[in-house]
Amino acid sequence: MSTTTPASGAAPALGRQDIAHLARLARLAVTDEELDRFAGQLGAVLDAVAQVQRADVGDVAPTTHAVPLTNVLRADVATPCLPRDAVLAAAPAAEDGRFRVPRILGEEE
């Protein structure tokens, strides 16, 4: 990315190229018009959220979760799952009892 690593609370500007790169990473085919609009809007949002960098957090531990929880495991017992036909009925495309998807491998692979 062309932006520089943020320092001293200043947010880097997000340009059209950065937005296009991030959109590609997120599998979003954004239009030219959206690139222009998002670059301005996200720049303003990024400036605002960059305030978190001004917080004096010292050696404060991060909170990932509001309620402290350890991992939860269920008993290793088979339980009924959703019926296959019901799940496939809600899929955009199905064939022979499976999801049908577009080509995943290229010609040469």
Binding site: T5, A50, V57, T64, V67, A90
Partner: protein, 497 residues
């Protein structure tokens, strides 16, 4: 019977139990009102009229109507999956999808004998504060049709305030139950994180999302809360603890005696030196609400929570980051729409085209922001830092609760704004969540209760309590409601008469 849609859930319960009406009559009255009013209000995305009448007839035949919530109609925000009933989360990407299963809260309401009226409009994937980000419809505020009903649970707020449903469920990630309740004159409660199941709730930000009740009175909200709360083995973040006794607390609070209760007014949320962006009318109604608490015997003092000022930037890093991950599942392969699958595009291109066409602008903005905040080289500066700020906010709550039993603030800095006013300015939209975000980030319960009108529009007072002390929220809210004399939405009835 008089107009059945004017009755609260508690009144409907009594009328059903006494045999003065039937669930079919109650359900038909609400369906008729939906048919008459919802063209203008836009509260519902899908109305399950035939299924509702059939269900109501079943409940009547079973003889259970009036027991608990049996026979009483409810509306569900379209974020809850409902087996066989279209569920979109307000997004084009799920257009036409009929889920093969139901959310735990939907199943619990069905088991309790409630009658599902339909699914309510919302900001797409619950991202917004006005419901204008819905891909399908504009929802209007029953108090003024040119204004927003709040969001993201704006279909639920419009439905209940407009008497299209006596009760509705919403979800709250950063204020999406409390703010729409506040701007439509309703009671809305965000339960303690983990105390209501998230199974079958289409995820936006998993560490923050929480389902909760919206109603015209505190006691109605409490009844709905008890029907949906409690441990669910299908949600790994579900707390295995008894549901707080919120109905009892609401009844107790309605007695109007808060003697001995210690109330902290949060300085950083509309107090001295922190009033930028707050409307005077909101601050005035809030101050009057606090005076009511004092008159009821509460000991009121000002409390400082210095990190609350950082809740907004922390939230708008954490929530988009989690959303960018959660929304990866919408790729057009297993459910929802698929775009560009004509043989000329490979799977990556089909995913990108599906997401381009399926997601609206706010969802795209948040996915891009979240992808950025989580990317290598930026993670620590943004997401990591925001999570540390989250710790500071939790510490502020803990310190405050050493001295007081509940914290209060306005629910939203402003009354409902005109439709369209903030659509192109995401930051202005985000500012609506200023007061609701701290409780979201800390996972503590918070309720919004009406505390009067400003320029004819409702103002909400927020009551926050420690984790699992949801009953305190209901007790204090019920005392405010009792002091004001009648549910605020009764004014809408008087106006219509």
């Amino acid at each position: 019977m008089s107009d059945l849609t004017a009755l609260t859930a508690v009144e409907l319960q009594a009328a059903l139990a006494a045999g003065e009406t039937s669930s079919v009559e109650v359900t038909r009255a609400h369906l008729d009102r939906i048919a008459a009013e919802d063209g203008a209000l836009g509260a519902f995305l899908h109305v399950t009229a035939d299924a509702a009448l059939a269900r109501a007839a079943e409940v009547d035949a079973s003889g259970t109507a009036g027991t608990g919530l049996a026979g009483i109609p409810v509306a569900l925000k379209d974020v809850f999956v409902t087996e066989g009933v279209p569920t979109t989360s307000g997004s084009r990407i799920l257009e036409g999808w009929r889920p093969p299963y139901s959310a735990t809260v939907a199943s619990r309401l069905a088991d309790a004998g409630t009658v599902l009226l339909g699914k309510t409009n919302m900001d797409e994937f619950a991202m917004g504060s006005s419901t204008e980000n819905s891909a399908y419809a504009v929802t209007r505020n029953p108090w003024d049709h040119d204004r927003i009903p709040g969001g993201s649970s704006g279909g639920s707020s419009a439905a209940v305030a407009g008497r299209l449903a006596p009760l509705a469920l919403g979800t709250d990630t950063g204020g999406s139950i409390r703010q729409p309740a506040a701007v439509t004159g309703l009671v809305g409660h965000k339960p303690t994180y983990g105390s209501v199941s998230r199974y079958g709730l289409i995820a936006f930000s998993s560490s923050l999302d929480q389902a909760g009740p919206m109603a015209r009175t505190v006691l109605d909200a409490a009844l709905l809360h008890e029907a949906i709360g409690g441990h669910d083995p299908r949600d790994s973040t579900s707390i295995d603890a008894p549901v707080p006794t919120v109905v009892e607390a609401a009844r107790r609070g309605a007695g109007g005696d808060l003697s001995g209760l210690r109330v902290g007014v949060v300085r950083e949320l509309g107090g001295e030196g922190a009033r930028e962006g707050y409307e005077q009318g909101v601050l005035d109604r809030f101050a009057e609400g606090v005076a009511l608490l004092e008159a009821a015997g509460a000991q009121v003092r000002e409390v400082s929570c210095p990190s609350f000022g950082l809740a907004l930037p922390a939230y708008y890093l954490i929530a988009p980051s989690e959303a960018s991950s959660n929304l990866a599942r919408f790729e057009g392969m297993r459910f929802g729409i698929r775009v560009g699958d004509d043989g000329s595009h490979d799977v990556d291109e089909v995913m990108a085209l599906t997401r381009e066409q399926g997601f609206g602008p706010e969802v795209k903005r948040r996915i891009i922001l979240g992808t950025y905040a989580l990317s290598a080289g930026y993670y620590e500066a943004y997401y990591g830092q925001a999570q540390k700020v989250r710790t500071l906010i939790s510490r502020d709550f803990s310190a405050a609760y050493d001295d007081v039993d509940v914290l209060v603030s306005p629910t939203s800095p402003t009354v409902a704004w005109p439709i369209g006013a903030r659509v192109e300015d995401p930051l202005a939209m985000y500012a609506a969540d200023l007061c609701t975000l701290p409780a979201s980030l800390a996972g503590v319960p918070a309720i919004s209760v009406p505390c009067g009108l400003s320029d004819g529009l409702p103002v909400g007072l927020q009551v926050m309590a420690p984790a699992l002390a949801d009953d305190r929220c209901y007790r204090v809210a019920a005392a405010v409601e009792a002091a004001l004399g009648a549910p605020l939405t009764d004014r809408l009835l008087e106006r219509a008469a």
